[in-house]
Symmetry: none
DNA sequence: CAGGAACTGGCAGCAACCTTACAATTCTGT
DNA sequence: ACAGAATTGTAAGGTTGCTGCCAGTTCCTG
């Protein structure tokens, strides 16, 4: 998932980013309120969750929140605030924040809240390539009616390829985006592609190699 | 029924818990506002009624209520507040509380209000997975016609899994949502899954494990 | 056809999960 | 209040299957 972290304390921002990346999220960190507001004002900002410090240089966190909520009521916002600023918190919930966390907080707790928010807001999306289906709610792949039971890494790979079906994706990009931040061996991707192919064989869905360009998922 | 009691006065909390337990309720007592909020923020917190003191450490009772009502308009909330704090009372009812009781109150009266609220809000919902049924009114499981008598923890686990049948749920999530706030050992969930499986064996309902993803309840 | 890139199968290590046993605790009826 | 039963927590050891790596092969491309 893509998280936007808006936090001016550089040290804290670093720590949080690290922790969240270990949970397999793609974290973008921003220190400036104005910049955050600009970014979130785009109709399609592409973030799945916003972590928002209220005490910001440039522009107050509540302003950022208000700007976001003007056109986007969906994306969950988790507010990070100093303990005791009660009116801020109430105001935040009023403005459409989804949860808040008082500083200082335990990292475990942050992770738990993020999990909960993402879970609550993740809408079920269905993908389809030929007769291969993916349902994001149950995280299940279905191939010609049969449920495909994939181990986590194959799942991540296939999920990514389905989301970009018809588009060739090279190994570098797969390593960076499908397996963001995870350690991988030299030919790990090749091995996973191979394992996926074995499962998909004879199903009408093909995982083609385009030399020099990458892999491509398509229905024959 | 499951009641959540949010009250910082330990002595009072003890007394109330005892009384309510004598009425055959499962009472969870919490003294911290923040903890209560966290617990109730889960989309599936599993409580049937919340008794809420307004004057709390950590986070105001009204905040707890606001956070709960953000996503859950159903669960009834009974506010406990000091006599005379009228504006609190009004605000509470505004925010979606269902009833209110001024301290000090007679225990009889508390019991009566709780009965009334539960009666008013308890709708019978029936769940079914294969030939396993659950009736939320009587809190009873029925398997192939036979009543299934489960200890509390297995009941909570199976109930949660039934409400999310067909969806794989990992151990973290089970600990956070099915057993919200309760302390659990490392492999507690595994043990409970094992015990449930023993009971379900040969009934046409299966509790499958999907490595790395979680557990999944389904009919074979 | 030479060299690099991608493919394949096997295997050892490891983490996730299962199972069992037993101790600690709580519930129950007398 | 007590004994016995049921439930719950914890630890230990076993099993499964995912994962990463390697070595050998095949396939492309210049």
């Amino acid at each position: 998932m893509r998280l936007l972290l808006v936090e001016d304390d550089t040290l804290l921002a670093e720590t949080l980013s690290d922790v969240l990346r270990l949970d397999n999220h793609h974290v973008t960190a921003i220190a400036e309120g104005d910049e955050a507001r600009r970014l979130l004002s785009a109709p399609d900002h592409g973030q799945d969750l916003v972590l928002l410090d209220l005490n910001l240089p440039g522009c107050n966190g509540l302003e950022v929140l208000a700007a976001l909520r003007q056109h986007d009521k969906e994306t969950p916002v988790l507010i990070l605030t100093a303990r005791g600023a009660i009116e801020d918190r109430v105001q935040g919930l009023d403005l459409g924040a989804d949860d808040y966390l008082a500083k200082p907080f335990a990292l475990d707790e942050l992770e738990a809240r993020v999990r909960a928010l993402l879970r609550r807001h993740t809408r079920s999306t269905a993908l389809q390539v030929g007769n291969l289906d993916f349902d994001s709610l149950s995280q299940r792949f279905t191939l010609v009616g049969e449920t495909l039971n994939l181990p986590p890494r194959e799942q991540r790979l296939l999920g990514y390829l389905m989301r970009h079906a018809g588009e060739p994706i090279d190994k570098t990009r797969l390593a960076e985006e499908a397996f963001a931040g995870e350690a991988l061996g030299d030919n790990a991707i090749e091995v996973y592609v191979h394992r996926l192919r074995r499962r998909l064989s004879g199903s009408g869905v093909e995982l083609r190699t385009i030399r020099g360009l990458g892999y491509l998922l398509e229905s024959v």
